[in-house]
Symmetry: C2
Subunit: 239 residues, 2 copies
């Protein structure tokens, strides 16, 4: 088997810093975790908040702390630092080779989708962001790693796309349409979801948007781990 994880991420229009932070960390007992946080508002302040949350979570995961405990610790740290005045959403998607499962932790009102074949399971149980109060807990979903499994996670910029002109994005419908092509790679799927959102916002995203797609394939091949990062840079770097 192979787990493929793809991310596509764009800033709010004309804002140089994204309030969304995403990082990947190796798990000390095998596997890896992707951590995605979206800080309240946008720009530098939001970036600082989402970075604080992601750094806290990643530091704990790297020490072997379980995902749920890491999320709760990050919430308490944010609550203490900002006295409950600033909130931040958090999603953790972990490939845990120790338990042979994918562990999904969510502190984010935006739903996520768990797909198998043509089936789309929309997970939208109520979930609150970090930093709102003490005793914030994530929703935890644990699924065996199996070929055909696909998970789609995103920040609320995707849901809000198109609202400015009264055509909000229907993420589930878009996903269903895109999944007709069973062979599309996770990166193609993440790119297409993001591109659709950007087009609904007339190419000027009204918010930071991050899309994460995780797919388990039956691919048998080499034992090589691979990673690609693509970072667009504006023409005049020193402007």
């Amino acid at each position: 088997m192979e787990v493929q994880i793809a991310v596509a991420k764009v800033n709010k229009y004309a804002i140089s810093e994204s309030g969304d932070t995403l990082e990947v960390v190796e798990r000390p007992n095998g596997g890896l975790s992707v951590v995605l946080a979206d800080g309240q508002t946008s720009g530098r302040g939001a970036k600082a908040v989402s970075q604080l949350v992601v750094r806290k979570v990643i530091g704990l995961l790297a020490e072997g702390v379980r995902d749920g405990a890491a999320a709760r610790a990050a919430s308490d740290a944010l609550y203490t630092e900002k006295q409950g005045k600033v909130i931040c959403t958090l999603n953790i998607a972990s490939v845990d080779l120790h338990s042979g499962t994918i562990v999904l932790a969510r502190n984010n009102p935006s739903p996520m989708f768990i797909c198998r074949g043509d089936q789309i399971d929309r997970r939208d149980e109520e979930s609150i962001a970090l930093g709102i109060s003490r005793n914030v807990r994530p929703l935890i979903t644990e699924i065996p790693v199996e070929p055909g499994l696909m998970i789609v996670i995103y920040t609320d910029g995707l849901t809000h796309a198109g609202e400015r002109r009264g055509q909000p994005m229907d993420v589930e419908e878009t996903l269903r349409f895109l999944m007709d092509d069973h062979n599309s790679s996770p990166q193609a799927l993440a790119d297409s979801l993001l591109a659709h959102a950007i087009s609904l916002d007339d190419n000027r995203p009204a918010d930071d948007i991050s899309v994460l797609v995780l797919k388990v394939t039956s691919r048998m091949g080499d034992n090589v781990r691979r990673m690609t990062v693509r970072l667009p840079i504006e023409g005049n770097l020193r402007s």
Copy 2:
């Protein structure tokens, strides 16, 4: 412009944990850093050492500490923890959007290559690993971000490939051959370098091997950041 970073990474044959650790972190003033460490020996002990070094470096970079200072701090931490008895190589490749440069920090006897067009600049000034003594400093190379620039960094597993059967890999020659195809992506290049090393080791790598390729292209496109991770998993997860 776009900076593309690709990594291909394999474990020593029959060893479930790689002594190489690689992680990516966003820089607080813009851009990102890739941190690659190779702990002495292989397996679990080496993994713990390279993770210690990478976590230290990443934590400092995330706070805005400069690359050279982060490398020195990691060396001191390792020296203190292991009393000079365990060493670890370190490479940091940073895309610094604040200065508009790529900053390369090296504490690794293995050389690195800086390529432009058909030119290959082999950088093999003497460089010692972290943790050997106090006052270990990295070699720092700073280059403007420019289309056509390509950088190749690797752990010593690549250099040692083929030694077992008396045919050690000539990395520079292999790179020159592969660069004949000017259009190959960084991932294709990293994959090919690694595949050649694995074949020289009769498909049983004698050491952990990690290859990192960074390429600056003139691509003008969307402002979307992208990341793909591919994690192979052995058939029986719970074995």
